[in-house]
Amino acid sequence: MSRDGLRVRGRSQRRGAKDGPDAGPADRHPGEAAGTALRAVGLSRTYGRGENLVRAVDGVDLDVPAGQTFAVTGPSGCGKSTLLQLFGGLDRPTEGEVWLGGRRVDHLGERALARLRRRAVGFVFQSFHLMDELTAAENVELPALLAGASPRTARRRAAGLLDRVGVADRARHLPSKLSGGQRQRVAIARALVNEPLVVLADEPTGNLDSAATHDVLRLFDELRAAGQTLVVVTHDERVAATADRVVSLRDGALADDIRLGGDGGTGLGTLLGWED
């Protein structure tokens, strides 16, 4: 085992490796055998009844292949957060199914669901949701400990990940001593600590300025290159545009599905106005 031990999706966590994309061999996560990481079938979630019925999520069918990054966009109130909570087992559908890594999860009991959530899903929220009284490193270690890792393993993984997201030098700081961008990077490290099947991020750049947004997007891009499955809910078009696929939600239903990447773009020349 190497000194730092932890490997996340084919990237070694050596110090100093953060300066460039190190093209190591791609280790495959056991749960990541190419296939569907996340599947929604006829997924619906309603609130209230009668006149007050709200169809927050309304008949969504979606397959997120392992290793893809997905963005879900749409105006405020269109059901993005609800959808993400259904994906991650934080909420239960009124109708339909959620499958994570080939396993149907919407019917699981509370305890089984909580266990699965810890191991298979990493959450990133707009307002970070870090524990104020724990240091950055402790925040990252906690989910590993809860999932049964030894304190030593948890510490090692946290150190590796904090290095990877570029806040190793803040490991012993409390969240209140960190900038918004640093807090979100700690939260991303925390989301990754159990090597989840899928990372679910709800408006991850909603509270960040443009420089910090840039950092988070770079990080997501690295995760994408490393094969991490990622679903990002956002109303920020620039965040959405970094995904492999952008789906639009309107009134709880999918309205559009755009595949990005590959050829067929206009070309930067046109964007810059040289071909007018």
Partner: protein, 180 residues
């Protein structure tokens, strides 16, 4: 201007004065800079090009039968082509706006479909700019330029969201909720 005037004629033959009034309504304060002469000059050019013809109004609401302008077959073709063509990443806001107005008035295209198509195009463009931006230091000269390109595309996408809201609310069948 020619395309817009043609598109407004697609709904029904109109008098130059009505065209100017409709254009002014669509353009708001920007329309105040539009003088009657410009509309007539455009109509004359279109007539020379064989895209419109003058004919007598069939049944005036009141007053004498006025001369109205009507589309020829090739005028109709040109309107359809204008509505269908994609506008490119640096397209003018006003032109796209008038396209939506003309599409809705003429019934030749669904404004929401035009918005969706433009949105797809802009997101593709933004993805490209954003990928390039991420590959550059944000503080480098190149990074700064790419930031500007990305921000402008983002602004266009935000405006399209507003277009979608407004035209969805005006859609004849209403959008969203129940059976649509």
């Amino acid at each position: 201007m020619q395309d817009v005037v043609l598109a407004l004629l697609a709904k029904e033959p109109s008098h130059g004065y009505d065209l100017r009034r409709r254009l002014a309504a669509a353009l708001g304060p920007l329309g105040e800079t539009l003088n009657a002469g410009q509309v007539y000059v455009t109509l004359t050019r279109l007539e020379k090009a064989g895209l419109v013809v003058q004919e007598r109004e069939d049944a005036p609401v009141r007053g004498p039968r006025r001369k109205v302008y009507a589309l020829t077959a090739s005028g109709q073709e040109r309107v359809a082509a204008w509505l269908a063509e994609t506008t490119g990443p640096r397209a003018d806001v006003t032109e796209f706006h008038l396209k939506l107005v003309a599409a809705a008035e003429s019934g030749l295209a669904d404004p929401l479909a035009l918005v969706a198509a433009r949105r797809r195009e802009l997101i593709r463009n933004l993805a490209e700019a954003q990928r390039a931006a991420l590959a550059h230091d944000a503080n480098s000269e190149a990074g700064l330029l790419l930031e500007g390109v990305a921000l402008r595309l983002q602004a266009d996408l935000r405006w399209l969201e507003a277009c979608e809201r407004t035209w969805a609310a005006r859609a004849p069948r209403g959008k969203g909720g129940g059976d649509g």
